[in-house]
Structure formats: structure tokens, C-alpha cells
């Protein structure tokens, strides 16, 4: 019941978003509801879209960013995609300040992503690594595990900085 309430609330929340995502998000909500038969106790994880708050897992200075736009993808960004984000929370002395508009690469997503062998991977949270327009990371360290989907997307630099590759 709580999840049903939550899904209703999220649909309402999504309708309050910019008019772009209106029909798409409601469609998305129902289609994802159908795929998981009892969404009573399970949380349905979805794409990273406008207004999604993500954790920043490098040492660029930002702590939390909010997604403004998912480049590529009508419904939203997934694991390995780049997004445009606005910095909402930052360390006091860092390269990136609050309110700045940055690009980021999604390195952890709670929504499962299919692998080429047929299995699926999912992570515990939504995390992002800030990059510049060319795709080079701004920070010098990356924390936590990263998927090796990044190799195909040509984010090799992030893979080299990472501690664990999932």
C-alpha cells in the first residue's frame, strides 16, 4: 500500500515537472508497473531524468547534483550515459561550486541494465562522475565500484581511476 501510494505520488510529482516529460513519464509509469506484477513491496527503479538527485563519487568538490537533462534517451539516462546536471551541494573549497551546470557520467544506477551475456546488473544507488564537455573527468579519484559498461562508452579514464570494476 505504501508503495502504491509512493507510485501515485511519484506520478503526480512527475506531472508537475516540465511539460516535456508529461505523457512520457505517465506511459513509463504504467509500462513499468506492468513488467513487475506485484509492485506492492518492490520498488520499481526507473531512469535518471530531470530532477533526479545523484551522488557525486569523485573528488571534484561537488557532493550532490540534480539532473537537468539526459543526453541521449527519450525516457532518461541509464548506467553509462552522460547527463547535464546542476550542482546542488558542494564542498566549501572544491573545483566545482554550487549552482554550476556540469556534465556527468552515470557510474551507478539503481535501475538494472542488461549485459550482453543476458544477465542484469544493478547497484545500490545513483552515482555520477563529473566530466567536462570532452568527456574527461574533472576529479582525480573515483570512489566505489564502477561497471565495465563504461569501456564500451569510451570512458576509459574513469575506469583507470576506479578502485573496483564491477
Amino acid at each position: 500500500m505504501a508503495a502504491g501510494f509512493a507510485s501515485k505520488w511519484s506520478l503526480v510529482g512527475r506531472s508537475l515537472l516540465g511539460g516535456l516529460n508529461n505523457n512520457l513519464s505517465s506511459l513509463l509509469g504504467t509500462s513499468n508497473g506492468i513488467t513487475c506484477s506485484h509492485s506492492l513491496s518492490q520498488q520499481q527503479r526507473t531512469f535518471i531524468q530531470m530532477r533526479t538527485v545523484l551522488k557525486v563519487v569523485d573528488n571534484s568538490g561537488a557532493k550532490k547534483v540534480m539532473c537537468i537533462q539526459a543526453l541521449k534517451g527519450k525516457k532518461g539516462a541509464r548506467l553509462g550515459d552522460t547527463i547535464v546536471a546542476s550542482v546542488k551541494e558542494a564542498h566549501p573549497n572544491g573545483k566545482v561550486k554550487k549552482g554550476k551546470v556540469v556534465y556527468g557520467v552515470v557510474v551507478r544506477a539503481a535501475m538494472q541494465r542488461g549485459r550482453c551475456d543476458g544477465s542484469e546488473v544493478k547497484f545500490d544507488d545513483n552515482a555520477v562522475v563529473l566530466v567536462d564537455k570532452q568527456g574527461q573527468p574533472i576529479g582525480t579519484r573515483v570512489f566505489g565500484p564502477v561497471p565495465h559498461e563504461l569501456r564500451k562508452k569510451k570512458h576509459v579514464k574513469i575506469l583507470t581511476l576506479a578502485g573496483h570494476i564491477a
Binding site: Q42, G118, S119, K122, D124, G144, P145, A166
Partner: protein, 167 residues
């Protein structure tokens, strides 16, 4: 390509099946199907869930120590491809699997057989000691035929056991 084991039920995960969950401390949990994944999300302990291999091994239902398990250790070093080695390995896998399943079946059979001899001995001892619950000791002293003779013959034991019970 690697055949993994499900974290929850310890069954094999073939390529194309199942889900992987990566926790933020970089621990990877692999599940063979959504049943195991959902149980994991419910935070159930596989050692307490009856149908998992972990429970069965812990409670002695399945074989735990055997030399056939040594062959299946995880090796992280890739081997150079050698046709003979591959062929021999494939043949060995088949025979080892057969041996292991035979031994496991025997283990379960032995467990199910029960302990008839031990139960018989326990029953006789209980009868000797607690006959006073059935008949007063004074009655037994008067009529010595009612007491159990201390002869260790199987047949007579069964006969004498029945006597006090019927009375």
C-alpha cells in the same frame, strides 16, 4: 564465460540467467532467479531458509566433506588453451559429477535409514529400568517369570518384552 553460484541458494547460474547486485562496498551478489533475489531483498538469511543448500549443509542434510569437492575450486588464473587438457577436463567433469551424485545419494539414504539397532537397545533398557511404572515391584518379585531374563538372545528378548505389555 564463467558459471557462477547463486548467493542465496547455491545453485549454478548459467550465462544469460539471473541478476547481479553490486553493493557500494563492491561486494557482488549473484542470484539465479528472482525468487532468490526477492528473498535477499527481504533480508532473509539463507542459512535459515529450508530449501537452500546453505541450510542443508549446515544441518547435515547434505554431504559436506568429500574429495570430489576439491576439483571444483575456483581458479582465477586463465589456462592456455590446450586441446587435450580441455578434452580430459570435460571427461573428468562427467565422471566426477557421477561419483559425487552417487555419494550424495548414499549420504541421504544413510540418513533416512534410521537407527534400528540403537532404538532396540534403548527400548530394552527402558523396559528394564522403568518396569515399575507398569507393574508394582512386589508383584514382579513373587512371580519371577514376569521379569526379563538377562539372556542376550534376540528372539527371546522380543517375546519377553511383549509379556508385561499385554498384562
Amino acid at each position: 564465460m564463467r558459471i557462477e553460484k547463486c548467493w542465496f541458494c547455491s545453485s549454478t547460474i548459467y550465462p544469460g540467467h539471473g541478476m547481479q547486485f553490486v553493493r557500494n562496498d563492491a561486494k557482488i551478489f549473484r542470484f539465479c532467479r528472482s525468487k532468490c533475489h526477492k528473498n535477499f531483498k527481504m533480508k532473509r538469511n539463507p542459512r535459515k531458509v529450508k530449501w537452500t543448500k546453505a541450510y542443508r549443509r549446515l544441518h547435515g542434510k547434505d554431504m559436506t566433506q568429500d574429495s570430489t569437492f576439491e576439483f571444483e575450486r575456483k581458479r582465477n588464473r586463465p589456462e592456455r588453451y590446450d586441446r587435450n587438457l580441455t578434452e580430459n577436463t570435460l571427461k573428468a567433469i562427467k565422471t566426477i559429477d557421477k561419483v559425487r551424485s552417487r555419494r550424495e545419494a548414499k549420504h541421504i539414504e544413510r540418513r533416512k535409514k534410521g537407527k534400528k539397532a540403537q532404538e532396540m537397545r534403548e527400548a530394552v533398557k527402558e523396559l528394564e529400568q522403568n518396569i515399575s511404572l507398569v507393574k508394582a515391584p512386589s508383584v514382579l518379585k513373587e512371580d519371577p517369570s514376569l521379569t526379563l531374563p538377562k539372556i542376550k538372545v534376540k528372539v527371546s528378548h522380543a517375546q519377553v518384552e511383549n509379556q508385561p505389555m499385554e498384562e
